[in-house]
């Protein structure tokens, strides 16, 4: 697995020597060093080959070398070299086996770590799902609207109920959530926020109907939307636009949340939210999904989640 890594002092190191701080060496010394590096590289390559080659092949090569030695009339040094090789093979083979065991153990540990992370992320999602701040502020807004604009109060309350309802069952059953469900959740959330923030939030949801049946992990889009509002638009006095879009790119479902807000702060702590999304993507898709944060030319922030495109099985009626 890591035969390459075991051969130090090869070309890369030599290059670093040239371009790095040691470049003020004299030409002669440099040439010597290059020759040295070359020999070292060849030696380690031979050593690695020896460690992994099968005994059968080594025997065959030895036989050929002996015949060659016989032809050149110097069989003795060749014979010595072959004996040395066999001894080294015995030693290096053991080392190789030890390395394989070690790397298997590391992989097992990493897998366990990943499983733990998923569990933790799930717990966290359960707990942090409905932020008390959001709930209190929304209830306060509804309360105010009841006094001044009852029809709007009723509409906002319905949005809140839809939001709560779609946020709850997702964690309970293990069924695979669809993009449509996630969009519904975010739309309800955006409706509430648009009442509260008024013209400071202009939500645009443009997701093709056909993509709504695609599988999409739960609570990730919600995290991106909450981030866009909390860190992008709320801190900006004049607010801005928030756009949710989805498309298929190279067989992958790419869902993005773009805001024209404050822009991303390089010193911003990765935050529980984004870190969670990344960990969960890693655990669920094992490297076949990613979260990309980019800066749109017009400013603001664009967060994109790419997952393999799959159609969700029809969910049973509630």
């Amino acid at each position: 697995m890591n035969t390459d890594q075991r051969s130090p002092g090869t070309d890369d190191a030599a290059e670093t020597g040239k371009s790095g701080p040691g470049s003020r060496q004299s030409g002669a010394r440099q040439t010597l060093q290059e020759i040295g590096d070359g020999i070292a590289a060849a030696w380690w390559r031979f050593f690695d080959w020896l460690a992994v080659v099968s005994w059968k092949k080594l025997l065959l090569v030895s036989l050929l070398a002996l015949i060659l030695g016989g032809i050149l009339k110097h069989p003795d040094p060749v014979f010595m070299f072959i004996i040395a090789s066999f001894i080294m093979k015995a030693v290096a083979g053991g080392k190789r086996r030890a390395e394989l065991t070690a790397s298997a153990a590391t992989m097992r540990a990493e897998k366990e770590q990943l499983e733990r992370t998923v569990l933790e992320a799930r717990m966290e999602a359960l707990q942090a799902q409905i932020e008390p701040h959001f709930l209190f502020n929304t209830l306060a807004s509804i309360d105010q609207l009841i006094q001044t604009d009852p029809p709007r109060a009723s509409k906002m309350q319905q949005s809140l109920i839809r939001y709560l309802r779609s946020a709850m069952p997702q964690m309970r059953d293990g069924s695979r959530p669809s993009l449509g469900q996630q969009i519904n959740l975010c739309t309800a959330f955006l409706e509430i926020m648009a009442v509260r923030m008024e013209e400071r939030l202009q939500p645009v949801v443009s997701v093709p109907e056909g993509l709504k049946s695609a599988v999409f992990p739960s609570m990730m889009l919600q995290t991106l939307v909450e981030n866009a509002i909390k860190h992008g638009l709320e801190p900006k006095p004049e607010g801005g636009r928030l756009e949710i879009g989805a498309e298929i790119v190279d067989g992958q479902l790419a869902v993005h949340v773009l805001d024209t807000g404050m822009g991303f702060m390089p010193s911003a702590e990765a935050g529980v939210g984004l870190a969670n999304v990344r960990e969960r993507l890693k655990a669920l898709y094992n490297g076949r999904a990613e979260l990309i944060i980019s800066v749109p030319p017009a400013g603001g922030t664009c967060a994109t989640i790419k997952v393999p495109y799959e159609i969700a099985p029809a969910s049973p009626p509630p």
Binding site: G9, A40, S141, Q144, E234, P266, A268
Partner: protein, 259 residues
């Protein structure tokens, strides 16, 4: 009674519905109070207090631009401050020991609390406004608003990948390497170029997260797989997720001293 001018107040909250609600609650609890202005962020609040000179300002803590605590700092000693918050446990603990009052949103849910606040304010209007030094220092620290904050290191690197600008989390980066005019950012999946030289980069990165191992190389500590020596005794760092080998210059040898 008419000898005393009516008390005045400014309300600052980024959500109009919240302002309306506080005004409605205050109207019930303290009909004489005149609302002379409404502000939707901290900066507006400061400007309005300075132009209208009210007796009291109600400041939401979470506001864009300048938050309630920063606004209170700017207005310390000029006006009586009441903080308004929906759910900030830290803030509430801080207020309970302070000279300044607070209201919880929704104010309408607890008219008695609003009445109590108004009563306290009436009593306090006779005194000069409290400069709130201790409280504000405590709040800034707890809520991380302005003031004293632990040093912030770079957590994201803004880099060009092809035609796009991407924010790469530092936890994804294996190493940085100086290359001519640019610095190469290497992740397991791709590489990107930034203009910031290693020299500047090292000051902005968290020293617990990244180590400089060479004049032209900075490596993320957790990405280091193993350190070997070549035949000349130079240390070589092998990074998990990359085949590239990174030389450690002598100045930085001590980093990988054996335990």
């Amino acid at each position: 009674m008419n000898a005393l001018p009516a008390p005045t107040a400014v309300i600052a909250d980024d959500e109009r519905l919240m302002r309306d609600q506080i005004i409605a609650s205050l109207k019930q609890a303290w009909p004489e109070l005149v609302i002379v202005g409404e502000a939707s962020n901290g900066r507006e609040a400061v400007a309005m207090v300075q132009s209208e000179e009210p007796d009291i300002v109600f400041l939401d803590i979470n506001m864009p631009g300048m938050d309630g605590i920063q606004a209170a700092k700017a207005l310390a000693g000029q006006v009586h401050v009441v903080f308004v918050t929906a759910h900030d446990q830290y803030a509430i603990t801080a207020f309970e020991h302070g000279a300044v009052d607070y209201l919880l949103k929704p104010a309408s849910a607890d008219p008695e609390r609003v009445a109590l606040t108004c009563e306290r304010l009436r009593a306090r209007l006779k005194q000069a406004p409290d400069p709130m030094n201790d409280l504000l220092a405590q709040l800034s620290q707890r809520l991380g608003a302005g003031g004293l904050k632990p040093r912030e290191y770079m957590r994201w690197v803004q880099a060009s990948v092809g035609a796009n600008i991407r924010m790469i989390p530092t936890s994804d980066i294996l190493f940085f390497r100086a290359e001519d005019k640019y610095t190469r950012v290497q992740t397991p999946g791709f590489e990107a170029l930034i203009r910031k030289p290693i020299k500047e980069l090292i000051d902005e990165l968290d020293p617990d997260e990244f180590w400089q191992i060479h004049r032209s190389t900075v490596v993320r500590v957790d990405a280091v797989g193993e350190v070997s020596r070549d035949f000349r005794g130079r240390q070589i760092v092998h990074v998990k997720g990359s085949a590239e080998k990174l030389e450690v210059s002598r100045t930085f040898n001590h980093l990988f001293k054996q335990m």
